[in-house]
């Protein structure tokens, strides 16, 4: 198996040897059950985030913020699938409306953090030297704040709001991207074909965009998926602490926080938002795992 590849002479220097397998990668991804399941779940959630509120407002008279003191803290029923909260609001409706906020925090923060991290990682790996040292030390500094603490400190400064949570979680995601992309960039930079491309007079900018970026795309996808999972958890945690989306926004972490006070008499109020967080985070984790396995044939049976 390995011998076949080893014996293969490196003939085509100008062709990116890793890109050739990109099609293969997609094929493997489609064959990977975990990636498929995770992907479908994510797709479903995205559709739910966009269509769900519309469907509910069009076909029912539920509203996420419609209070009804008479109906407060009711358990799940045919009328209120997930029950009602302390203001008599329909929890199911709120969860559907909150999906958008959750995905918003997950995608946007990772997008922002990812872009910054990828740029820093590529610059660091491509140019090396002092720039590399400085950037990487900077990342070390960010990584010195364990877990949720960095995001917490940032929100402490900026104040609690959904936007600030996104910024905080975004910054929190930067080092992971920077490190991974730097590593991949270093290994791509070593490939012979990069030298060949440079010899042909390509600019750094062109090399980075045309040749390095496509090559580091796959680890970025894996990282993004796993980071979105973390970001959602972190965002929910901040909201739970009252530092995220402010009431009455149907943010799941905030809903959990509200439900917490009624845990003894109405456990369902905290149960469903938590379950939803688990399911959504699970989808991203499964997807990330799947993509990583598809990328790393070593771990296959």
């Amino acid at each position: 198996m390995s011998e076949e590849t080893v014996n293969h002479p490196v003939t085509a220097k100008k062709v990116n040897p890793q890109l050739e397998s990109f099609k293969q990668f997609w094929r493997r991804l489609a064959k990977n059950r975990a990636a498929l399941i995770g992907g479908i779940m994510i797709l479903f959630f995205v559709i739910m985030a966009f269509l769900g509120p519309w469907i509910i407002s069009t076909f029912t008279d539920w509203e996420p913020n419609k209070t009804s003191v008479a109906n407060k803290l009711q358990g799940p029923s045919a009328e209120h699938w997930f029950g009602t909260d302390s203001f008599g609001r329909d929890i199911f409706t709120r969860i559907v409306f909150g999906m958008k906020l959750t995905l918003y925090v997950g995608f946007l923060s990772v997008f922002v953090g990812g872009i910054v991290g990828v740029i820093l990682g590529i610059v660091s790996g491509y140019y090396g030297g002092k720039v590399d040292t400085i950037i990487m030390r900077l990342m070390d500094v960010l990584l010195a704040f364990p877990g949720i603490l960095l995001a917490l400190a940032i929100v402490a400064v900026l104040g609690g709001s959904l936007t600030n949570v996104i910024i905080a979680v975004g910054i929190f995601s930067v080092p992971a991207f920077a490190r991974i992309v730097r590593g991949s960039t270093l290994s791509v930079k070593k490939l012979e074909y990069i030298d060949a491309v440079r010899a042909l007079g390509a600019s750094d900018f062109r090399i980075i965009f045309k040749h390095i970026l496509p090559n580091v795309m796959s680890p970025i996808i894996v990282q993004a998926s796993l980071r979105i999972a973390t970001a959602i958890l972190t965002g929910a945690g901040l909201a739970f602490l009252g530092l995220g989306a402010q009431p009455p926004a149907p943010e799941w972490g905030a809903m959990l926080n509200e439900g917490r006070q009624y845990m003894y008499e109405a456990g369902h109020v905290a149960l469903f938002p938590g379950l939803m967080i688990v399911v959504v985070v699970l989808a991203f984790n499964i997807f990330g795992d799947g993509v990583r396995d598809a990328l790393d044939p070593k771990m296959k049976k």
């Binding site: 030390r137 900077l138 070390d140 500094v141 010195a144 704040f145 364990p146 877990g147 949720i148 603490l149 917490l152 400190a153 929100v155 402490a156 400064v157 900026l158 104040g159 999972a229 958890l233 929910a236 945690g237 739970f240 602490l241 009252g242 530092l243 972490g253 959990l256 917490r260 845990m263 003894y264 456990g267 905290a270 149960l271 938002p273 938590g274 967080i277 688990v278 399911v279 985070v281 699970l282 984790n285 499964i286 795992d289 771990m299 049976k301």
Partner: protein, 315 residues
């Protein structure tokens, strides 16, 4: 080895400087006037000016930073705006609570995680493996504060509990009155970490089991048990060491949530209360202490990893 330790120590210095700069900046990055925010709405100009004076906000930035670091090194992190007590005293009273919480959680995480990971690896691609890994995936995806709430709910509400477990019903109210109250918070924090360690152990074990020296061990006619537990496990554990430090740190950070749920008077809750009341010196203090602790722990972990890995590294 000594060289490595020295190099690693030197590397820590810029990180610590960076951490202090960041923590110092917290107060200066506040949109608007920190002193005004601290004073609260409707405070008189005089009050605001007093606060500004007290915090040294009128000095040039570099002087302020110098003072901040100089004092911090001597254990002086300023005074709480709210209580007026030295930040260090407030932290000192709570430091060990959080430390213990994170420490026990690490032990639980390592213990549960290793067992699950080893079982999974030994039975890889069987139903047991799949089940364990699915549980681990859930553990990974679960917000631990939610899990904590569920635990409280189950244990505190159910009537099914035997007498001997009654203590779990106690409405948790901080540390000290009964050590057994540590159980639920530690489970809350530890399970997520256990999931990470289980996954890591499994993949590390699987990788090791594919190594040549495992085949050699089998070729000696050793039983599968000896091959797995003597030859594979020891090698597989080495990379797992690196996560332990990260986990410990994660637990320090996660304590913010866990302490809030369980009403534990640790550094985490101190941080949150300080954030809510805009007690910036206190926020700076707790954040600084937690991250310095984390840096130190990681340093220790790296050094021990290097030590354990010494034999392999040189191959």
């Amino acid at each position: 080895m000594t060289k490595y330790i020295i190099r690693r120590l030197l590397q820590t210095i810029p990180v610590l400087i960076g951490v202090t700069i960041l923590v110092f900046s917290l107060m200066h990055l506040v949109p608007g006037d920190a002193a005004k925010i601290i004073a609260g709405e409707g405070a008189s100009d005089q009050t605001v000016e007093n606060i500004r004076e007290r915090l040294g906000l009128n000095d040039p930035l570099y002087v302020q930073y110098g003072t901040f670091v100089g004092n911090a090194v001597q254990g002086d992190l300023g005074s709480s705006i709210r209580s007026g007590r030295p930040v260090m005293d407030e932290i000192g009273a709570r430091f060990w609570v959080t430390f213990e919480l994170a420490f026990y959680s690490t032990i639980v995480a390592v213990f549960l995680g290793l067992i699950a990971g080893i079982i999974s690896a030994v039975r890889h691609y069987t139903l047991t493996d799949v089940t364990v890994m699915i549980i681990a995936l859930f553990g990974l995806s679960m917000p631990n504060f939610w899990f904590g709430l569920l635990l409280i709910q189950w244990f505190a509400i159910g009537n099914w509990m035997p007498e001997s477990l009654e203590f779990l019903k106690m409405r948790p109210s901080g540390w000290g009155d009964d050590w057994r109250q540590v159980v639920l918070p530690v489970l809350t924090l530890g399970t997520g970490g256990a999931a990470i360690i289980a996954r890591m152990t499994r993949s590390s074990m699987l990788e090791v089991i594919g190594q040549d020296y495992i085949r050699t061990a089998r070729a000696k006619g050793l039983t599968e048990r000896i091959v797995v537990y003597r030859h594979a496990l020891k090698n597989a554990l080495i990379p797992v060491v690196t996560v332990v430090g990260l986990e410990f740190g994660g637990f320090l950070g996660g304590a913010v949530l866990t302490e809030t749920i369980f009403a534990i008077n640790g550094m985490g809750r101190l941080t949150i209360d300080a954030i809510r009341t805009r007690d910036f010196p206190m926020v700076q203090g707790t954040v600084l202490v937690i991250s310095v602790l984390f840096v130190v722990v990681n340093l220790l972990v790296d050094v021990s990893y290097r030590y354990l890995n010494k034999r392999i590294d040189l191959n």
